[in-house]
């Protein structure tokens, strides 16, 4: 392996890991507060990719507008998804809440995917690079400004989420609900309004991730399938509900995938990635950072 390979891998790790982190961090936020695996997060990526295509290619507007629109639209969709597929099941007894919401959110995702199929058709829409140029980091290892921008915006958004959760009234309330529901209610936190907002926020981050993934790959009705799987793996791998664990896992997975891509090519990168994940989970079933019942926001 040459130094150019190593640097190429590191660059791709940072880019991929940051976008994975952005998509998966919402999933962690939702698991932490609602204790559900939200299977509609993939469709938010898909919607984001179409919003990106629509704003950048069809309308010819700026990337900032694409991000803004993706945030607004997927925030609304996420809130809506919570209200129709999770909220009606709350407070009822006699069933496995986590399992049933796994199915109901998945059902919503299928509906979204088929609506997209009807509206946009099955073909991949190419989002040609909107930010041109790049920097030659080291002897032909190129970091495009587009990749750089996506990585920086992803990292910036994750940092903003961290600040939001640490410093603001509603951010504290989200963590409070995650850590002790009864106590949060005694403080006056309106939990039934907080849940849809949390899912909206998480979906909005996935939606922006979708703009990026759409620009890196394509926009199409199945654009959320692989990201959903990857987000699930990042979340489980990082320890369910643990934000630092999610970031750790996102970059680890980005590193494994980038390494496999450079060394053996794209065909084998996914099988190798999942093989390694299987091994790690057998050794550490609670993931990299999670401890049973202890991972909290």
């Amino acid at each position: 392996m040459h130094l150019t390979d190593v640097i190429g891998i590191l660059v791709e790790t940072v880019v991929l890991g940051s976008i994975y982190g952005l998509v998966a961090i919402g999933m962690t936020l939702i698991y932490g507060t609602l204790r559900i695996l939200d299977m509609s997060q993939g469709s938010m990526v898909m919607v984001g990719s179409f919003v990106g295509w629509g704003v950048l290619v069809v309308a010819g507007w700026s990337p900032a507008l694409a991000i803004l629109f993706a945030f607004a639209i997927t925030f609304a969709l996420g809130t809506f998804t919570e209200l129709i597929s999770v909220q009606p099941l709350m407070g009822r007894r006699g069933f496995d809440f986590e399992m049933v919401t796994f199915i109901t959110t998945f059902a919503v995702a299928i509906v979204f995917a088929n609506v997209a199929l009807q509206v946009f058709g099955p073909f991949q829409k190419n989002v040609s690079p909107v930010v041109s140029g790049g920097i030659d980091i080291y002897r032909g290892v190129d970091l495009s400004y587009q990749n750089l921008t996506m990585a920086l915006v992803s990292i910036g958004l994750m940092a903003a989420l961290g600040l939001f959760l640490a410093r603001t009234r509603w951010g504290l309330a989200i963590r409070a609900v995650a850590q002790d529901l009864d106590a949060a209610r005694l403080m006056g936190v309106p939990v039934m309004r907080l849940y849809p907002l949390t899912m909206g926020l998480a979906s909005a981050l996935a939606g922006i991730g979708g703009v990026f993934l759409g620009a890196k790959f394509f926009a199409y009705p199945g654009a959320g399938d692989l990201p959903l799987l990857e987000a699930l793996i990042v979340v489980i791998f990082g320890g369910l509900g643990s934000l630092p664990g999610t970031l750790y896992a996102a970059y680890t997975i980005g590193l494994i995938q980038a390494t496999a891509e450079v060394l053996v090519g794209t065909t084998w990168s996914l099988p190798i990635l999942y093989g390694i994940i299987l091994l790690i989970l057998i050794v550490r079933p609670h993931g990299l950072k999670g401890r049973p019942e202890e991972a909290r926001l």
Binding site: R169, D182, R185, L186, G188, V191
Partner: protein, 255 residues
């Protein structure tokens, strides 16, 4: 129940009088088919500290959890400042100024002490005054300021209790419900907790406090009720009840 507005049979329920912040009428509550609170009546007059004592497992904690909306009542009425509130959510009752400092503290374990306190000021009106409230609580409860940045899960039992108390003082309370503040604490810690409660009491806050026995409530209790099997069996001033040998022996074992 002197002056309780339920004397006229068949009349419309009259809201609690101006002098009673909290009124509980024929309250039944519990878990599943087991009723733990069984037909309990209670009045908490404004500015007073009412103490309920009784052995473990006789419904004291469930009573407070039902009043604050964490447990759904099966039957009966709860009135807060003239508004009927049974069946309302805990988060709604919080907006009416009900502050419940629960058993086991229910702190947010992965938040710092200061973040826990700030959550006590979550409601918009209190949030605007949170910095002043923090100063007030740090001034009132010694030792908290030094722990401000420490995670709640790493605190000792006594410190946790003080944080729970402090969190309850971060907003203005129409009534403060406190569940067994002395439970499981070393004597020194109990003294600190009760010193804080005495201060709150002296400021005129209405308090409903639950304890297992008379030991610590000496200088805070205005009225004492003895609870047994989920309803109140004796009521009176502390001096009278604590000197009554039947009360002490029948309901409390030893003093």
């Amino acid at each position: 129940m002197n002056g309780a507005p339920r004397a006229v049979a068949g009349a419309e329920p009259v809201p609690a009088g101006r002098d009673a912040i909290l009124e509980v009428r024929d309250l039944w509550s519990g878990y599943g088919d087991t009723m733990v609170v069984r037909g309990l009546d209670l009045r908490v007059p404004a500015g007073q500290t009412v103490v309920i004592i009784g052995p473990n497992g006789h419904g004291k904690t469930t009573l407070l959890r039902t009043i604050s909306g964490l447990v759904k009542r099966r039957r009966g009425e709860v009135w807060l400042a003239g508004e009927r509130v049974d069946g309302r959510s805990a988060e709604y009752l919080a907006t009416l100024g009900m502050v419940h400092i629960p058993q086991g503290d229910l702190l947010f374990p992965d938040m710092t002490v200061e973040e826990n306190l700030l959550m006590g000021a979550f409601l918009p009106r209190s949030w605007r005054k949170r910095h002043a409230a923090l100063e007030h609580v740090y001034g009132l409860i010694p030792g908290l300021r030094e722990r401000a940045g420490q995670r709640a899960r790493t605190l000792s039992g006594g410190e946790r209790r003080l944080v729970g108390l402090g969190r309850g003082l971060m907003r203005e309370a129409s009534i403060l419900l406190i569940d067994e503040p002395s439970l499981g604490l070393a004597p020194v810690a109990i003294e600190r907790v009760y010193a804080a409660i005495r201060d709150i009491h002296a400021q005129g806050t209405t308090i409903l406090l639950v304890e297992e026995n008379f030991t610590h409530i000496g200088d805070v209790a205005d009225i004492v009720h003895v609870v047994e099997m989920g309803s109140i069996v004796r009521t009176g001033p502390l001096e009278e009840l604590s000197r009554d040998q039947t009360v002490v022996q029948t309901y409390l074992g030893t003093l």
